[in-house]
């Protein structure tokens, strides 16, 4: 993974020192809250319902075991012993004291992590396919471009006060695991007609209260031009994005207002201006960064390993885990293993400090000391020798991290919701807990198959409800929590936004409604059809009928 050199280290430690001075000025009253708030937000420090919340970047999802141990120490020393992995490859701590924040940032800097620009109207953490560099279906590892974009965006003098936040996601694989179509800029690698790898540039996607699938602004661009092309987009956005209304300030609103063709004209005109004289990506610098992502020394003998190691295990739970949680690796004899943070009844994305340390130990033992976090709030070991799978499965099982549900109904995304978040209208976590208990049965899970359920506690959509096959949005109705369902959303390479099913349901009715939707799908599905495929074939009406007119009858109104 990327390692800081003296320049990165200096920059991050200078940022910590700067923030330490700012916190001191705030505590003495030299800075008012109005003056201080944008400064703390640009360092990832929010004030939430119970305390300050610190959001830490895990750039493009890559985390070392040493970093995870540092997070565990922070969780124990400064928080309440746990952290929350988010949908943007960040980890959040919920119980932070303002006075401690500079020390935490210094501890993070010591393990080459930071919180810079994890909030604010600037370019946020650059996210990527969590299997980057390892997936069997990948064209090229996108992480060198991720890191170049990360460095380009950090403290960028021109683009740190954009109209609104700005999110970038990259995938080097035709199978999109990074939800690139719902980002301000999404970069999807594919080969052109001559077989050259390049990026499709997608712009203006996003979720929130005005969800949009991004539009292709450029079919194919050579990767070495990507920084300048992003600069052209950022400049057009910085100059012409709306600043009069916070709800209309994202780039998606500008792209929609101008139309993608007019927006492309502006960007291409800007790009023509800068491409001759602008900074090109230095080959030596690129090579330096590329070297950080060199794969580990794989054991060539691994190719001769039994491709489906059972090693005496005749446990259906192991088989289910192999099917759901283990993914093909580009090197023979190795596998990618997903750690599910979605055991029945657990809080999606939360991990206790003790478990962080156990996971770090397992990463050292089984996966070259590295792991990944992904936008579905799970972890991945990306370099596991297949013959180690049974041992690893047992170890993960004792930690409750081997639930065989990756991509299945109980692998639920949930934002922190009203239990933590000051923006939320309703609680997301209890719904996720109910549903994951409801889908606790492995056979049922496997029978239902691929199904994403995403829950947001408000229309800001941190829980990605718009792109869940089943989306659940918490709303406040005169002081009571209600939940609106959407169906048919998808964040993969064929993205779509969910369609609203109907009026909101009280919390107690949500599991039964989901059950009816799933049962309707099972009754309607064709051979090997996923929920999404069935939904796209039959439309919303059959599902609306089973939720709002159970047993085929409309309730009599007295």
């Amino acid at each position: 993974m990327y390692r800081y050199d003296e320049f990165d280290r200096t920059l991050v430690s200078e940022r910590v020192a700067q923030f330490r001075r700012q916190v001191a000025r705030r505590l003495t009253g030299e800075l008012s809250e109005d003056q201080f708030k944008p400064l703390r937000l640009m360092n990832g420090l929010y004030l939430q319902l119970h305390a300050y919340m610190l959001r830490i970047n895990v750039p493009y999802g890559c985390l070392s075991s040493a970093q995870l141990r540092a997070l565990a120490r922070i969780a124990r020393r400064y928080d309440r012993g746990y952290g929350h992995f988010t949908t943007r490859q960040n980890i959040q701590f919920n119980w932070i004291a303002l006075a401690d924040a500079p020390d935490i940032m210094a501890d993070l800097a010591a393990v080459e992590m930071n919180t810079m620009q994890s909030s604010g109207n600037c370019v946020r953490n650059v996210t990527a396919d969590h299997y980057a560099g390892r997936a069997a279906d990948e064209i090229e590892d996108p992480r060198v471009w991720c890191e170049l974009l990360r460095q380009y965006s950090i403290l960028n003098p021109e683009f740190s006060y954009l109209p609104r936040k700005f999110k970038l996601a990259l995938t080097g694989s035709p199978h999109d695991r990074a939800a690139v179509a719902v980002h301000d800029i999404g970069l999807r690698m594919y080969r052109d007609e001559q077989g050259r790898p390049g990026f499709e540039v997608i712009v203006g996607g996003g979720q929130g209260r005005t969800p949009a699938i991004g539009k292709t602004i450029r079919q194919w661009i050579e990767p070495r031009h990507i920084i300048l092309y992003v600069e052209a987009i950022l400049r057009v956005y910085n100059l012409y994005g709306r600043r009069d209304n916070i709800y209309k300030a994202r780039i998606k609103i500008l792209v929609t207002a101008l139309g993608i063709d007019r927006f492309r004209e502006l960007v291409d005109a800007e790009w023509e201006q800068i491409r001759a004289t602008g900074p090109v990506i230095d080959d030596a610098e690129r090579a330096r960064i590329q070297a950080c992502f060199a794969p580990p020394d794989y054991d060539r003998a691994a190719a001769g390993d039994d491709p489906s190691p059972a090693a005496g295990i005749s446990d259906p739970a192991y088989d289910a885990w192999l099917r759901s949680n283990v993914v093909a690796h580009k090197v023979a004899g190795y596998a990618i293993v997903n750690l599910s943070l979605k055991a029945p009844g657990r809080v999606p994305g939360d991990l206790a400090a003790d478990k962080m340390e156990r996971v770090a130990d397992l990463a050292d033992r089984f996966s070259c000391g590295e792991l990944r976090i992904n936008h579905r709030q799970n972890l991945s070991f990306v370099d596991v020798r297949r013959r180690d799978l049974p041992v690893l499965w047992r170890a993960l099982s004792t930690l409750e991290l081997a639930t065989p549900n990756i991509g299945l109904a109980s692998d639920i995304i949930a934002c922190p919701g009203l239990d933590y978040c000051s923006l939320a209208n309703a609680r997301s976590i209890p719904i996720a807990q109910d549903l994951s208990r409801h889908f606790a049965d492995t056979d049922k899970l496997q029978q239902v198959g691929s199904l994403t359920i995403n829950i947001s506690g408000c229309m800001n959509a941190c829980g990605h409800h718009h792109v869940g096959n089943i989306g659940i949005l918490g709303v406040d109705k005169r002081g009571a929590e209600f939940f609106q369902l959407t169906l048919g959303g998808s964040a993969d390479e064929n993205p779509s936004l969910g369609d609203r099913l109907g009026r909101g349901l009280p919390q107690a009715d949500v599991p039964a409604a989901i059950e009816r939707i799933v049962d309707a799908y099972l009754a309607l599905r064709g051979d090997d059809e996923t929920f999404l495929q069935t939904y796209r074939r039959v439309g919303i009406e059959p599902f609306r009928a089973v939720v709002y007119e159970p047993q085929g009858t409309t309730r009599q109104v007295a």
């Binding site: 950090i154 230095d282 030596a284």
Partner: protein, 169 residues
């Protein structure tokens, strides 16, 4: 009360601000709004004293790109510190339109933003506060490493890395 800082020094602001229907005096340096410039440029350019123009945050410098030789100063307004358009304007004025005179940040200019502003080409700031010069020095000292090239000539980390690598060979 604001203090003008120019090229790192406290400076006396010799410019009289002219906007709307303000009368245009016959003598003295003037800093005029864009509409005043557009309405009275012939008269203004006949005067011997220096002229500057103020651009509000919605006024793209493209509209004065052909007039730059007339201006000793261009002042770009930050109506609120959140409005970042002037960072791009400054960069375009320096990089694309070749303006080499004084580029002044006015309005809601915060200490924490100075290093960004210097990097995109501002060399003058109207700052509030008791001792803005001392604060400027503090703000300037915050960072010694930058990832991006910009218009201030400071070399980004990528260039320094390669220079170091070459030197060690």
């Amino acid at each position: 009360m604001t203090t003008l800082i120019k090229d790192g020094q406290a400076a006396k602001d010799i410019y009289l601000r002219i906007d709307g229907d303000d009368p245009i005096p016959d003598g003295g340096a003037l800093l005029v709004s864009l509409p005043v410039w557009q309405d009275h440029w012939q008269r203004l350019t006949r005067r011997p004293d220096p002229i500057g123009v103020v651009l509000a945050s919605h006024e793209h410098p493209e509209v004065i790109a052909d007039d730059l030789e007339n201006f000793a100063v261009i002042a770009l307004e930050f109506p609120t510190f959140r409005d970042g358009r002037a960072y791009s304007y400054a960069r375009l004025l320096r990089d694309r339109y070749g303006f080499s005179g004084e580029l002044r940040a006015i309005g809601d200019v915060l200490l924490e933003q100075l290093h960004y502003m210097e990097r995109v080409g501002f060399n003058a700031f109207e700052l509030a506060g008791d001792d803005p010069l001392a604060e400027l020095e503090t703000a300037r000292g915050d960072f010694s490493v930058w990832y991006q090239g910009a218009v201030d000539g400071r070399r980004p980390a990528s260039v320094l890395r390669q220079a170091r690598t070459s030197a060690s060979k």
